[in-house]
């Protein structure tokens, strides 16, 4: 990798006030380099120094091994182009006139007329930014996003090796933000364009940049890959705000979400208990007063999410449907629930055999609802049946926890719940009808862990924690009760 741009120990700022202190980094050819930092951290000042419009006090900024001040304005413009945050628009030039100005540095003198190469480059730049269609329009007739693309085309017409951008996505709507950054990324990969850009949006920066520079009060806080820079503690400290880091669902890049200030009302704990539960022949429903954080394997609302309605629906033993998810959504729709806000499960057992109970220990309480049947009991360790088909589950377990759970606690609660269920099956000697061994569950069991995410923070829910104890005790008891009722009904 060749270093194209090197900032060596640079300090400086406006007269009388030093904005930047000892900044040092290098940018390589073909890199997409992001500059981050809170307002007033010196991002724009740094960009101005790199583009040569602002002198720096100490240190050295060099481009292609030559100090920036040694370049004439024209020489520099052939290497570095800038897409500014704002541009003065006193007079209404046409789009093409504006883009054509990008060729200034390539024209030797006033006498040298516009040649075919200039015309070609301008046309190419307009085509690349998708503005050819309105090349004869006036700038002030365009929307903010279109104007942004015009100035991008102007910068491209300069045929630069380095493109400096100051919050390029500022005026753009969602699709143009993505389009612009995809395009920039493409150019860095295809033709080795080097892009240095200021970002306000940490997530966009994290998604697209190869490396990030995080500035804090005019000093380098960190330089590195998005994963190195976008650390939860680091961002919280630099931006003085509470954030949480998540994994991007599709690409291995960190995403950062803001946490709104908790209101007094939100701090109030809510305890999910019997009062929210209704059981009838068709379904069991629990409607929580507020959305709950859920981790489940329901037919709808599976995975992590936020849901406030929970449905365990009775279906016929021979229920068979090619698209149970869609069928379930339709069912929810006809009953006045929405698929997005509902965790929906299915069972073939009689819903009147359901067992539910509230367990409490100090501040923590757990409400458990279990419907159980052993129609297709399976020993997980010796099962050889293969079916990807979704059949109605027979042991459906809901766990509502009154507390604030970490993601680890959710998973641990799941493990604990499963272990307790297996123990209940063992003690009742439920057997896999095919292998004859003790069953560990049924082939279509579903589990839901839901937490109000208010009140006390609970980091762990393993079997020897307080919460783990409540969960395992509750699951064991409820599963046993429900299974006994099932057995009684089927006189097994």
């Amino acid at each position: 990798m060749t270093k194209l741009l090197s900032i060596g120990n640079v300090s400086g700022g406006y007269s009388g006030e030093t904005v930047l202190h000892n900044i040092m980094f290098e940018v390589h050819k073909g890199e997409l380099f992001g500059v981050l930092g809170p307002n007033g951290s010196g991002k724009t000042t740094l960009l101005k120094m790199m583009s040569g419009v602002m002198p720096y006090g100490h240190g050295k900024i060099s481009i292609k091994g030559k100090e920036i001040s040694a370049y004439t304005a024209k020489e520099l413009a052939k290497i570095v182009a800038v897409l500014p945050q704002h541009s003065a628009q006193t007079f209404s030039y046409t789009v093409k006139e504006t883009v054509s100005l990008g060729r200034y540095a390539h024209q030797r003198s006033w006498l040298q007329s516009w040649n075919t190469e200039d015309e070609e480059m301008v046309k190419k730049a307009m085509a690349q930014t998708g503005i050819t269609a309105f090349q004869d329009h006036y700038l002030d007739e365009l929307s903010g996003g279109e104007r942004q693309r015009v100035f991008l085309a102007q910068a491209l017409a300069q045929e630069p090796e380095i493109l400096l951008l100051d919050e390029p996505t500022n005026h753009l709507d969602l699709s143009f933000q993505k389009e612009l950054l995809d395009q920039l990324k493409h150019w860095t990969e295809e033709r080795g364009l080097t892009v240095v850009s200021i970002f306000h949006d940490l997530n966009l920066a994290g998604l697209y940049c190869d490396r990030l520079l995080l500035l804090e009060k005019g000093q380098v806080n960190q330089i590195g890959t998005p994963i190195e820079v976008l650390r939860e503690e680091r961002i919280t400290a630099v931006y003085h705000t509470s954030i949480e880091k998540l994994a991007h669902p599709a690409v291995p890049k960190p995403q950062i979400v803001l946490l709104p200030e908790e209101t007094a009302q939100n701090r109030n704990n809510i305890e999910i208990n019997e009062q929210y539960l209704t059981v009838n022949d068709d379904h069991i429903q629990l409607i929580a007063p507020k959305p709950l954080r859920t981790l489940s394997s329901g037919v709808t609302g599976a995975g992590f999410g936020w849901h406030h309605t929970f449905i365990n629906r009775h279906v016929d033993q021979n229920y068979d449907c090619s698209d149970p998810v869609q069928e379930m959504k339709e069912y929810l729709g006809t009953h006045g629930f929405t698929g997005e806000e509902t965790v929906g499960m299915m069972t073939a057992v009689n819903l009147n055999d359901a067992s539910f109970q509230l367990y409490q220990e100090g501040e923590i309480s757990v409400f458990i609802v279990v419907t159980a049947g052993t129609g297709n009991a399976v020993d997980a360790t010796s099962s050889q049946r293969m079916s990807s088909k979704l059949a109605p589950g027979t042991i459906n377990t809901w766990v509502f926890i009154n507390g604030h759970l970490s993601e680890a606690a959710f998973v641990q609660a799941m493990v604990t719940a499963t272990e307790a269920k297996v123990k209940a099956l063992l003690d009742l000697e439920i057997r896999d009808p095919i292998t004859g061994t003790i069953a560990t569950g049924t082939s279509t069991d579903s589990l839901l862990i839901a937490a109000a995410q208010r009140g006390e923070t609970i980091e762990y829910a393993g079997t020897i924690t307080l919460l783990g104890n409540l969960v395992s005790k509750g699951i064991y008891e409820c599963t046993t009760t429900s299974l006994k009722r099932y057995k009684k009904r089927h006189s097994l």
Binding site: S87, Y104, A105
Partner: protein, 352 residues
């Protein structure tokens, strides 16, 4: 709709723009020479100019009185008016592009106030330098305008090292006010020369003769060429100084060049004719509406239209209540201010 389309198409054709502007200027010149207390037929004008200026062998004998009126009174007057109009218009266009303010004009920077002080001081103290004699007034005027622009720039640089446009405009306005007060003070102290000073301040191109054209011409040529050669840089600077520098313009150097050229033009115009307002404001504005803001065309077209406009304004000033002549600055203000107001109203209407 179709007519509208054809009209826009015709207007967008740059060659046609130059043709129209040139025809306008020539018509203004011919009418300006023709009309007056003694009317000169247009055919005579062509013959006289052909004979006298181009030494064409035209046989017709024309009354020497006509020849005298055309060659010694009307032609120099029309040419001088044209040069002044052209200078003010191109300087205005350049200042507006440089300062990114369509309301900027040679007067905003204090240049014309400086020139006025130079002239008023000359008149007040009856200064007459040896050798140059009659030219004392114009030369001192140009010198004063130059001193003013450099003091303004020096002052602006002192306040703000990067010399932002806003700083320059504000400094210019401060100096303008100060110099204006200085002129008022001298007028208040004046006895007999009052009418002379006021008359000069309001502007006139009468009775200047070929000498003044000779003074004016070199400044006009130098100033205009400097600006015409800066057209592309002015385009870039319209988008902001930083943006211009990103595009490769040596902003500091070019800014000094444009300011100097504008000052030369304004200083020379004010020196020979007094203060004539609104030409530098209205003409570039009008051309921008018709043919767009591209300085490559805006500047030459400003020369042509500005020249023609001031010739017509001068014509009106000397014929409207003949034989008394009105100061030309009164006419340009009377025409220019309402036109400018109309443009502003239209512009605001468009935005809404």
């Amino acid at each position: 709709m179709r007519r509208q389309y054809i009209l826009t198409h015709l207007l967008s054709n740059k060659w046609l723009a130059y043709l129209l502007a040139a025809v306008f200027l020539i018509c203004a010149m011919v009418i300006g020479i023709s009309i007056g207390t003694v009317s000169v037929p247009i055919s005579y004008i062509i013959k006289i100019i052909g004979q006298e200026a181009f030494r064409l062998p035209i046989r017709d004998q024309i009354d020497p009185m006509y020849t005298n009126i055309v060659m010694n009174i009307r032609l120099p007057r029309v040419i001088l008016a044209g040069l002044i109009g052209a200078s003010l218009a191109i300087a205005g266009a350049a200042f507006q592009g440089l300062l990114r303010n369509p309301l900027a004009d040679p007067y905003t920077l204090g240049v014309s106030s400086g020139a006025s002080v130079g002239a008023v001081v000359t008149l007040f103290f009856q200064i007459s330098l040896p050798v140059i004699g009659l030219f004392t007034l114009p030369l001192l005027s140009i010198a004063a305008s130059f001193v003013t622009i450099f003091v303004v720039l020096l002052f602006a640089r002192k306040i703000d090292r990067s010399m932002k446009v806003e700083t320059i405009i504000l400094t210019g306005i401060i100096f303008s006010s100060f110099l204006g007060a200085f002129i008022s003070l001298m007028i208040a102290l004046t006895g007999d020369e009052l009418r002379q000073i006021i008359g000069w301040l309001l502007g006139s191109v009468s009775m200047r003769g070929w000498d003044y054209i000779n003074i004016m011409l070199p400044f006009f040529i130098i100033g205009s060429l400097l600006l015409l050669f800066s057209a592309r840089e002015l385009n870039a600077m319209s988008f902001g100084e930083e943006q211009a520098q990103h595009l490769g313009v040596n902003v500091q150097k070019r800014k000094m060049l444009v300011l100097s050229a504008g000052s030369i033009l304004t200083g020379a115009a004010v020196a020979v004719s007094g203060t004539i307002g609104f030409v530098g404001l209205v003409i570039p504005h009008l051309i921008r509406i018709l043919w767009g803001p591209d300085h490559k065309h805006l500047l030459p077209l400003s020369i042509l239209i500005g020249g023609g406009f001031l010739i017509l304004a001068d014509l009106v000033s000397r014929t409207v209540i003949a034989p008394t002549e009105l100061p030309i600055g009164v006419i340009t203000a009377l025409i220019g201010a309402p036109v400018f107001a109309a443009i502003l109203v239209r512009k605001r209407g468009e935005r809404r």
